[in-house]
Symmetry: C2
Subunit: 113 residues, 2 copies
DNA sequence: CGGTATCCAATTGGATACTG
DNA sequence: CAGTATCCAATTGGATACCG
């Protein structure tokens, strides 16, 4: 019976993109427009954000509401399914906070820049 | 003040390897030898496991104790630092369980095999 | 048995250019 | 403003072979 293993992989598959968890976390505070998300995550690249949003939508974690205006306006929000991640997301933040030095590998990565 | 963003990334960096969270989860039950971990995660490849264990060790999440015997015997266990992840890991399992259909993308991936 | 050392294939993040 | 469509560079998982 290794359902646990499968369950972990299911969750990781959904949360582990370079910025996915961060995007989801931002959306826990409420609906955001594309540009707003981008502004709140300065380091993310335009194209990257689009890709990750699309995957999150395909995975059923977020809603995408597009207004037929010019200029376009698109809003993203969590689905119920995605909202169930809220608790997990706060724990991601907390663990990172309690161990707030970066990981050894992340440090190494930064030293190179 | 976007410490949250940084914290999430810190945590993800440590947990997001194809099998890292699973390995950590297995180790929450106690110390395991290399071969035992491999047996408990049948799909993982020898070389992949070695790489991920090394990274987890570098990140300070697990201890590696090698016995100078022939044949070799190596045991892995969680550090205190890694043990703090336990709570998070159980939540990964729970979310996956409550949403136990695979993600849409994961399903697609499976259909191809 | 558990490990190193190489090399390779696949994935993924991101750069660039163009659209309504 | 938000989105396609390409293409590319970097990373990562894994295959293979050999070692103490």
């Amino acid at each position: 019976m290794d359902k646990d293993l499968e369950n972990i992989k299911t969750t990781l598959d959904v949360v582990c993109g370079k910025w996915k968890a961060v995007v989801l976390y931002k959306l826990t505070s409420g609906t955001l427009r594309f540009g707003e998300i981008k502004k709140q995550i300065p380091l993310i690249k335009h194209q990257t954000l689009i890709k990750q949003l699309k995957e999150l939508e395909e995975d059923g974690l977020i809603n995408r509401k597009s207004y037929p205006e010019v200029p376009p306006k698109v809003e993203y929000s969590l689905t119920d399914y995605g909202r169930d991640l809220e608790y997990l997301l706060t724990h991601l933040v907390e663990w990172g906070n309690e161990h707030n030095r970066l990981s050894y590998r992340a440090e190494k990565e930064l030293e190179e820049t």
